[in-house]
Amino acid sequence: MLGQQFINGVMLGSVYAMVAVALTLSIGVLNFLNFSIPGLFMIAGMATWALIHAGVAWPLAILGALAITAAVSLVVERFTWRWLRGAEPFVPLVSSMAFLLLFEHLAIAWWGSEMRVLPSLFAGTDWRVAGFVIGVPQLVGLAVSIASIFGLSLLLKRTSMGRSLRTIAEDSDTALLLGVDVNRLVPVVFALAGLFAALAGVLFALNYRQVQPFMGEAVGLKGISAMIVGGMGSTWGAIAGGLVIGITEVLSVGYVGANFVDIAVFGLLLLILFVRPTGLFAGLPAGRGGI
């Protein structure tokens, strides 16, 4: 029972972790708390449902949802970042919040506000290993999250673009005087963040098979919490924070009762921040956990 809960918690945690990584990319490189990310998560989930519902084969539906979400993230970049450059720092934050609400209400207008249920694509393919049940989407989802986060850390560590992003993260004026084309890299950050939010949304949709226009809010809140608990601006911290929250959530459903989930989760977060106010992974240098 405990082991099974743990497996489920890791799965849920990996969704939070990916949302937290998306938020971390934005805040780590651009110092921008991008509230549209929970909206992008929702768009990916809803688009997965809508495409499958429309009869698109599921692999294509997944790719479509990822592409749509990354493209929407680039639209967000235009209007929250590029247009508002030089504005007070909270202005992009507020406009990204407006985007979250806009996305939710567009989704209602388009698809309706009711819960949508995805077909079970992988029925009967569950693995039973030593008494544990592991769903194929769970397993694939976990593999995809791990692979994408490793991919991101390789990109940041080993490529010229990654070095430039880390330089912008530390001091964008220095990046500029070294000849880095900062305006060309900002959309890359938005596309990457959008892609991570989208992967989380697709995984959520395939695993829990339920989507609705407000699904981003609770996940977004936990993603932000995961990022803060992990130590703002650190990718590995975001992952650790996501897993801690996911596992706590699932275990508290099992052992304390569904009504106490958020009390358990946020109580634990407060406790962690009380003991370690800067978060679990704060202060690591870039490339070794930084951004």
């Binding site: 070095r163 220095t174 500029l176 070294l178 000849g179 240098p285």
Partner: protein, 250 residues
């Protein structure tokens, strides 16, 4: 002329930091830009690199009118700045900082060779190539900033206060490296330096700025001989109270 700025004008709000300034550099020259704090030296460098938009005037570099070019395009063309305060990226390793200098280049095998050349020039960096740049001393950081600029394949290297905050011995060492780069590779240098005497020792020509304008220009030797001029515009302490300059290390 490798670089020619004509009637350059830089404003910050109502403050005119650079007022109709003209300046030229021929290939192979070391030109020192002197002036008290607030004379417009750093604003001039920022405008030349395109970090600050010039309100008026023209900048031509290597045969192109670059007035409207982005900083990134100017760096690719070989106009490179070693900034004041060195601006080393502490989150990167020494080697990664060098690679940031080469960020705009596509010829990766030449970059590898040049990184090794930088390590030969600055052996202290070679020993720490995979360490975080934050472990470097001030002098080593300055060497790294120069090495990073070299990796950008510069035609003109602009240095903003390279000896600031360094001990006299290290300051001499840094300026000796600058002179060597000029002698060995014919690298053209624009040197902004508060250490007037040492700057004039290695420079061929100099400009003296006051309130964003060129007050006087000419061969460095003339400036060095004219103590009253330097004292008047750079403050007494600059020329008079400094002990006899130590011979530059070679």
């Amino acid at each position: 002329m490798l670089l020619e700025a004509r009637d350059l004008e830089v404003r910050y709000g109502s403050v005119r930091a650079v007022r109709g300034l003209s300046l030229q550099l021929a290939p192979g020259e070391i030109v020192a830009v002197l002036g008290a704090n607030g004379a417009g030296k750093s604003s001039l460098l920022r405008a030349l690199l395109g970090l600050t938009r010039a309100h008026a005037g023209k900048v031509a570099f290597d045969g192109n009118d670059v007035t409207r070019w982005s900083t990134s395009a100017r760096v690719r063309a070989g106009l490179v700045l070693v900034p004041e305060g060195r601006r080393i990226v502490m989150g990167l390793t020494v080697q990664e900082n060098l690679l940031m200098g080469a960020g705009q280049r596509r010829d990766s095998s030449a970059v590898q060779t040049e990184i090794e050349q930088v390590y030969q020039r600055f052996p202290n960096l070679a020993a720490r190539r995979h360490a975080s740049a934050s472990v470097l001393s001030g002098g080593e950081q300055q060497m790294l900033a120069i090495g990073r600029a070299l990796l950008a394949a510069p035609k003109l290297m602009m240095l903003d206060e390279p000896s600031l905050g360094l001990s006299p011995r290290l300051a001499n060492e840094v300026l000796a490296h600058v002179r060597d780069l000029n002698r060995e590779r014919g690298l053209t240098i624009l040197l902004v330096e508060q250490n007037t005497q040492r700057a004039l020792e290695i420079a061929h020509r100099a400009y003296l700025l006051e309130l964003g304008q060129v007050l006087r220009q000419g061969p460095a030797a003339e400036f060095a001989a004219d103590h009253s001029l330097l004292d008047a515009y750079l403050g007494r302490g600059q020329a008079a109270q400094r002990p006899t300059p130590a011979q530059l290390t070679t």
